[in-house]
Subunit: 218 residues, 2 copies
């Protein structure tokens, strides 16, 4: 059985590797874990010994097959619990992360699967992130980012790429949430900011924000 620390490292290595598919650096892991590079090195060596990561000194690490399986279980649990907190207990999507960070370490396969059933097998968590199935597989999603839409095109907000507290709070403030239908009114070539219409209002968001919103075409 893995310790919570080991599980957290696996999860972060997964998250960092997801984007680039490349080796993850010791420093980037240390930063994510809010610890020192030396501590990250120690942990990488331990995880490598257990066969959970492929690690080359001074080069970086990536999850092994075995490590990825473990990571996906944790991601699955995290996202199921977030769904539970929002759908059943009435939390809002910007309140659930820290609690799910704790709940994701509860050990019980039966519990995870019964929770999944209780939630009626959700495919995405409250942030629009896909929930891996029992086998740790993520069903491919056909979403794109808002920044890829052109003027007059429409889509439905299905998720956020950046689920940080500050970003979610910002979305709450400007009244954008999952399920909103959004139409592109104007794109400012100078800074890539986008003016959108979500039926109730017309607002301008920065290019950066547009890159962090997942959209599905209607």
């Amino acid at each position: 059985m893995l310790s919570q620390a080991e599980e957290n490292y696996l999860k972060e290595i997964y998250a960092l590797g997801e984007e680039t598919q490349k080796l993850v650096s010791t420093n980037s892991i240390a930063k994510k874990m809010k610890t020192k590079a030396s501590s990250a090195t120690d942990m990488l060596q331990k995880l490598a010994n257990k066969g959970l990561v492929d690690y080359t000194k001074y080069k970086g690490a990536r999850l092994s097959k075995k490590g990825e399986t473990r990571a996906m279980v944790i991601v699955r649990k995290h996202r199921l619990w977030e769904t539970f907190l929002v759908d059943k207990l009435g939390f809002s999507w910007d309140e659930v992360h820290d609690i799910a960070e704790q709940l994701e370490h509860i050990q019980s396969k039966t519990l995870t699967n019964r929770l999944d059933a209780f939630l009626e097998y959700p495919s995405h968590d409250p942030h629009g992130h896909p929930i891996p199935n029992t086998n740790g597989k993520i069903v491919a999603s056909e979403s794109i980012i808002l920044a890829e839409l052109k003027v007059d095109e429409e889509g439905i907000v299905v998720g956020v790429k950046d689920a940080s507290d500050s970003f979610l709070k910002y979305l709450n403030k400007i009244n954008i949430t999952i399920g909103d239908t959004i139409k592109i009114v104007e794109i400012e070539p100078f800074d890539n900011s986008v003016t959108i219409d979500n039926n109730t209002q017309q607002i301008t968001i920065s290019g950066n924000v547009a890159k962090n919103l997942y959209i599905k075409s209607e």
Copy 2:
């Protein structure tokens, strides 16, 4: 914040002190925690330094006011989660203890209270144990033990004193569960075994079993 180990000790000291109201011995704590007496001593000293237990060398320990408050929060969480697991996820009462042992350490007052609301403020967990309220108070229960009933008296099973796995499995086997109405048919003076009738069957249980069943008069 307390570590999980500290929380577990507090909970066990509470459980051991509940019965007798007296000082709890180092050895009995060690046994409950499945550790060595020396480890228990270490922890008692630490908890005493934090003002969570009153501890006298070679004498034993009891929870301080502060320690009891903390213990009750943990007991409350444990029993709420057990209720969730049985009522919402369909576990049976003999399957939930180990999972609740993990869930009881999740830190979030809001979560605990929302869970309580979601479960519609249950007064007792699936084993019939009372659930402390937000202030850590247990609402007095008027139940007695089955062994105190006389021949021909009736009552409803409302809980078990011993919630051990083996006892719960035994009750399942002989088809006794919470809510059953039970009538005393005969008491054998020789060994205090009791023959009972729960409408569907007549069975004989040992005096020890009779001492571990809580009964409410109709």
